[in-house]
């Protein structure tokens, strides 16, 4: 418990450093664009691939479980959309990104720490925490919601394609279900979760990378800790946010 509190204290201290005023804003703007490419655009392929299969499997499972004359067929499209919007895209995709983006951030910053590159930044008079972590946070806060919106669209497409191709759900029924009873608040809830998860992924992974000590082995450990801890934080905050926003 004591160690946990010490870690939380160090994390808060680091975040205070991260959000200090940047030295030169044009440099940071350039860094944000680089990070959008590295952390966001580079994740597009995996997000699309996972989403299309996730939507397809969801639709088939819905069709299998709702195979009764008491439930209208369009419910399959509706339930698929709701599952994707409320839970699968924001949470599952964020967990995938915690693995992909989180490990990249921890190992990149951890390697910079053990090779004294962070010390070199500090010696130049640069706030290394801001320089290394702030652009990544901004990039993910900006781009992860875009990724999740794409994921929602692609997952619904995957569900439609799976239902149509297998003949389990007629195309028109699925499309009607996807459009039925649409609430904008559901998307808002999904995006709020995404933004919170994006912050958790980058800040926790960045924290583990920043305080890496030792060599290659410790960089690996930091990377693992970054992924595990940010995944746990996502699961916990998922419950908290769901309770606050949907109860």
């Amino acid at each position: 418990m004591k160690n946990f509190l010490i870690e939380i204290g160090r994390y808060v201290k680091l975040m205070r450093l991260v959000f200090k005023r940047p030295e030169k804003q044009s440099i940071y703007f350039k860094q944000i664009l680089i990070e959008i490419e590295n952390l966001g655009l580079d994740s597009l392929g995996i997000v699309v691939l996972i989403s299309v299969f996730m939507g397809a499997v969801l639709a088939i499972q819905m069709a299998f479980n709702l195979d009764t004359p008491l439930v209208p067929v369009y419910t399959i499209g509706y339930a698929t959309r709701q599952s994707v919007v409320l839970e699968f895209s924001p949470t599952i995709i964020s967990l995938i990104l915690a693995g992909k983006v989180g490990s990249r951030i921890s190992s990149e910053i951890g390697t910079m720490r053990v090779t004294e590159q962070i010390d070199a930044l500090e010696i130049m008079g640069i706030n290394s925490a801001t320089y290394l972590i702030f652009p990544k946070i901004v990039a993910c806060l900006f781009f992860n919601p875009i990724l999740i919106m794409i994921s929602i669209l692609v997952a619904n497409f995957g569900g439609w394609a799976a239902g149509s191709l297998t003949g389990m759900v007629p195309s028109a029924e699925f499309i009607y279900g996807v459009k039925a009873f649409f609430e904008g608040y559901d998307v808002f809830y999904s995006l709020v979760k995404t933004v919170v998860f994006a912050f958790l992924i980058v800040s926790i992974s960045g924290y583990h990378g920043y305080y890496t000590k030792g060599g290659a082995l410790e960089v690996g450990e930091s990377s693992t800790k970054g992924v595990v801890h940010s995944s746990i934080a996502i699961i916990v905050f998922n419950l908290v946010l769901t309770n606050i926003m949907l109860s």
Partner: protein, 250 residues
């Protein structure tokens, strides 16, 4: 001038630096020598503020480092150039961008002005045709030279070099030593160099400080070090067959 007064640093129970008091003069190469693990790197990191000291104080031209705020420390650090043991070049940037980096961060110079300055610094360390190469594509000696070029890009008042010629062949090591000496005199910098290379001591040691078991054991210059009667210092200086033969020939 940089002055350390009674600097003490512990890691847990282990006292690495024990009340070290030294003055590093401006315009001279101040060499800190000692065995591996004697506390040289810790002393250097305490001097530049990368490690917090437990007792004592460090002063940069009368300004006490430990009393400075975060922002004041950042300003002082813009006057510091440091050459790390492994170079600490930024992997993601080619050589030229590495050298231009502090200029991009702290000056309003145009790209062409920054590029000119970077090229000047690179030519100063005798490095040409390497601008577009990444750190992973250049040799250890080249990395050290790029790191020196980056360290001097902002015309620092203080230069710190942590084992600048470790892992280099004697000829390249000599080039690096003379280069540091030249730029120290040319720009009137206060230069502190950590080394355990006796060639460096004899070549450029204007002031020499011997650290032993975390304490300042001896201080003098490149002339007096060869005639000292300090037992521990002599064991360090004349540890190899070559240096023993040189001593007997003196």
């Amino acid at each position: 001038m940089i002055e350390a007064v009674n600097v003490t640093k512990c890691f847990g129970e282990n006292k690495v630096l024990d009340q070290i008091s030294v003055k590093f003069e401006t315009g001279k190469c101040n060499l800190v020598i000692g065995q591996s693990g004697s506390g040289k790197t810790v002393l250097m990191k305490c001097l530049v503020g990368l490690f917090e000291i437990d007792k004592g104080k460090v002063m940069f031209d009368e300004k006490v480092l430990s009393r400075m705020s975060f922002e004041e420390m950042k300003l002082v650090r813009q006057d510091i150039g440091m050459l790390f043991q492994g170079g600490a070049l930024f992997d993601s940037m080619p050589v030229e961008e590495n050298v231009m980096f502090p200029l991009s961060m702290f000056t309003d110079q145009s790209l062409s002005e920054r590029r000119d300055r970077a090229n000047f610094c690179l030519s100063r360390v005798n490095l040409k045709d390497a601008n577009k190469l990444y750190p992973s594509e250049i040799s250890g000696g080249m990395k050290k030279r790029v790191a020196i070029a980056r360290a001097i890009a902002m015309n620092p008042r203080y230069l710190f070099c942590d084992e600048p010629n470790s892992g280099l062949d004697p000829k390249t090591a000599n080039v690096i030593d003379n280069l540091i000496k030249e730029i120290t005199e040319e720009y009137d910098m206060t230069t502190v160099i950590n080394t355990h290379d006796m060639n460096s001591v004899v070549e450029i040691g204007d002031n020499v400080f011997y650290i032993h078991n975390g304490k300042l054991w001896w201080q003098g210059d490149k002339e007096s070090i060869l005639n000292s009667d300090n037992k521990e210092l002599n064991e360090f200086v004349f540890a190899t067959e070559l240096t023993k033969k040189i001593k007997s020939a003196l």
